[in-house]
Amino acid sequence: MSIVLKDVHRAFGANQVLRGLDLEVLDGETLSIIGFSGAGKSVILKHMVGLLQPDSGDVFVDGQIVSELELEELNEIRRDIGYVFQFAALFDSMNIADNVAMGLRRISGMYDEEIMARVRECLALVDLEGTEDRYPSELSGGMLKRAGLARAIATKPTYLLYDEPTTGLDPVTVTVIDRLIVRMKEELGVTGVVVTHDIDSAYRISDRIAMLHEGRIRTSGTVDEIKGSDDLLLRSFLEGRPELAERAS
């Protein structure tokens, strides 16, 4: 049970974003993907869940090639993957309970009472009890992210993909989200892939960190390995020192 990307190429017009990307997400780990803005980190997540298809190369989820699946088969895989969007992407015409219930309503055989019980359980997991009847426009940025996380975990997925989960949040809320990500792994046993710019956050939540640069994984390793790396480009990113990136190139 894992997610594997093999020699994935993807361009948007003339912009070649992924150039032979190889990446494996190991079962049960939390992998953070870091990299400069526009490097294509979110593009990787979207390939994992079939929102984007590679121009060439393959994305395997649990051994199945995502781009070759029929819609029904793809939906089966998607039920096993929770996706936390950068700006939550909650449905603004629905209250929070209905947002969290959306994925559950696609599972046949679940009654309304069971769905609502699961909704309350998920909201409790992200410390959002009592927000069932509120609308996304009534929540703060941090609450939106947590509601997005509640929606993502509602179907008890094996994988959780987080797209910039802490961007734009205050330091306290960042810590709250980080703890939630760790909690998802420890309590629910999910395999996590986190796309982030926030290196402190990546250190706190990751088992491994991979750096994406020029369409490929430039370097990857455990948190300690990354901290100890002497790759100038990686150091430039970690320390916020552009002069190191210039020396590296």
Binding site: L51, L71, R78, G82, F87, L90
Partner: protein, 260 residues
């Protein structure tokens, strides 16, 4: 390209590529929506709310327009016919014009503004805020969830609203004839019935169905392909209204050629 100026050849080339691409996208959306029809469990619960939004909530504006159109038709018919032909023909002109042409087309154009713009804006906002992506990750076919119920609601409700509007236009035309033209009800009704054919209603309903299909499909298409934030949603809504309006006029002529 020479600086920022396109040569005619480049312009034609770009226009051709853009047109072919749009046709391809429209074809993809259409086949996807047809395939999504089988997902009744997704679009079924959303059909009635969409019928309310597309149809019931459009009734006030449609009736408002029809009301004044009926009055103006009666007055213009009287102005044109006085002294030339019998006045009861005012009833004929109001009835025929409202049912065959002005009822469907004016209502269709007004709904192209209301329904087309709101469809493009709603779907477009969902596109640029990743809500459509979210639907997909939650195992919903976005075409079944967003497009199918809107298009079905358009096809089902446009005829209802248009027939209602045409009826109201005739009633206000009759009232204007009575109170402003000193005609009797009997005269107006005589004219109304003189050239009436049941096919007129069928013709209006066929036109209305096609208008409903076009307005909701075009709105969904531009919303679905919106990009670039609020500006992109605005562009999508504007294009939806303009293209729907143009297609309504083209279809109007098409049905006249084919069916009359």
């Amino acid at each position: 390209m020479n600086g920022f100026v396109l040569t005619p050849v480049e312009y034609v080339g770009r226009w051709s590529i853009s047109t072919v691409r749009s046709v391809g996208k429209a074809g993809y959306l259409t086949t996807g929506a047809l395939r999504a029809l089988k997902n009744v469990e997704i679009w079924g619960p959303r059909l009635v709310p969409q019928m309310v939004s597309v149809g019931v909530e459009s009734v006030p504006i449609a009736l408002f327009i029809a009301m004044f159109t009926g009055i103006v038709l009666a007055l213009q018919a009287s102005y044109t016919l006085t002294g030339a032909v019998p006045m009861y023909l005012v009833g004929t002109m109001v009835g025929k014009s409202m049912v065959l042409e002005l009822g469907p087309v004016l209502t269709g154009l007004s709904l192209a503004g209301r329904v087309g713009a709101s469809t493009a804006a709603e779907v477009g906002t969902m596109r640029v805020t990743e809500q459509i992506d979210a639907l997909e990750t939650l195992a919903y076919d976005p075409l079944a969830y967003l497009v199918v119920p809107r298009v079905l609601a358009g096809v089902l409700m446009f005829p209802v609203v248009i027939v209602l509007a045409s009826g109201v236009g005739i009633v206000t035309g009759w009232a204007a004839s009575l109170w402003l033209l000193d005609m009797s009800s009997a005269e107006f009704v005589r004219g109304l019935r003189l050239f009436f054919e049941p096919f007129d209603i069928q013709f209006a309903v066929i036109k209305s169905l096609s208008f409903g299909l076009i307005v909701t499909s075009v709105g969904s298409f531009y919303g679905f392909h919106a990009k670039g934030g609020a500006g992109g949603v605005g562009v999508a809504a504007t294009r939806a209204v303009v293209v729907s309006s143009v297609l309504i006029l083209v279809l109007d002529a098409f049905w006249a050629v084919v069916l009359l």
